[in-house]
Assembly symmetry: C2
Homo-oligomer: 217 residues x 2
């Protein structure tokens, strides 16, 4: 029984990896870069995306893919910025897969896009398993969630190119130990870039913007 | 392809529902009550459980089942309270199922237990699908996560018997609209009991303790 389950999962992931590679090639051929933003619910993914659009829209043509279990609250906020946005509701599912992203590409004008910001489903577990074809995978962790999250949800942190610690403005009101976090993350993923930001106040955001620009270079 | 996927999911959920019913019967036969606590990562499930143990341990024999993707951080905190605790690591999986709970029962002395507090995996999506055999399902939502979560993750809120709004002590630092939340929740699940608490400061916790005691009556 266990063996069968693993085989099914392996087949799904291997088919997904192939589609993800195709997605990346499709983007590379058109000089588009895609950044996949993953986090728990409520960590501030949408706010980070909105601020990134504000900062970089005059230099780059940005599009957004929004993954939400239900509702179009986030996609509506993006649309108000007048940037192309595609929403994917994985109808009760808990993660996006590469095929959904491939379909979303069809609704975007990739020839006129430099950067796709992909807001993944709010889920620290299931999102980690699925390569979507992004060039960079980013985890956003907010101060109120606590410094122990890399120990509890290791896979998503191990695979990330960058970690954004968001809501730094409320650090005084929570027991988040930045040194303890750095030590744990150093053991799991020493090469990840770490940004300490408040998307709300703007604190630390310039370093994040620079890193996004580097991925576009 | 879609049809096959749905069938597999239905079969899994129907087998799970049967095991969940068996779990409930097993508990009922021994006058044990089980409360299933679900939330996103970092909302304060463990702290709520620790405070509930402190308050009720002189009146009831409490045991804890801990679901964690990785690490034993939470189970260790519980064990320090000298209450029986079983940890389930669903090895890479994103949710608990009724069979895992059935196995956990084997590691507890149910004849000498009045109340099982079940800490589910930190996940607002996948946990909602699986009946575990609990008598009450509770969702914990913390203030920093935002008031829009019932719209974004409706299923878990629709099915809950109670919602605990935690971290009320930091309300002044976040844009959480309690009235807006109440309105949305009223549309989805008007019969759910709602508690506004801070497990950290103790604010509002007496109502929560009373409700837990009512489930034991």
């Amino acid at each position: 029984m266990t063996t069968r389950k693993i085989t099914v999962k392996e087949n799904i992931l291997s088919a997904n990896a192939e589609t993800a590679d195709n997605n990346r090639t499709c983007l590379d051929n058109r000089q588009v870069r895609m950044i996949n933003l993953m986090s728990a619910p409520g960590s501030g993914k949408t706010e980070l995306i909105l601020r990134t659009i504000d900062q970089l829209r005059t230099k780059y043509r940005i599009a957004v893919i929004e993954g939400s279990i239900a509702s179009s609250i986030d996609a509506d906020k993006i649309t108000q910025k007048n940037v192309p946005a595609v929403q994917i509701n994985p109808s009760g599912g808990c993660h996006l897969d590469a095929r959904m992203i491939q379909q979303a590409f069809g609704a975007l004008d990739l020839e006129r896009t430099d950067l796709i910001l992909l807001e993944n489903v709010g889920n620290l577990v299931c999102t980690a398993d699925f390569d979507l074809g992004a060039h960079k995978d980013v985890v956003i962790l907010s101060i109120p969630e606590g410094d122990d999250k890399p120990l509890k949800y290791p896979l998503v942190f191990v695979e990330a190119d960058a970690i954004v610690i968001n809501k730094m403005d409320v650090l005084p009101y929570f027991n988040f130990d930045l040194d303890a976090f750095a030590e744990v993350l150093g053991g799991l993923n020493p090469s990840a870039r770490v940004f300490r930001v408040s998307a709300k106040t703007g604190e630390g955001m310039n370093d994040w913007f620079s890193w996004v620009e580097e991925t576009l270079a």
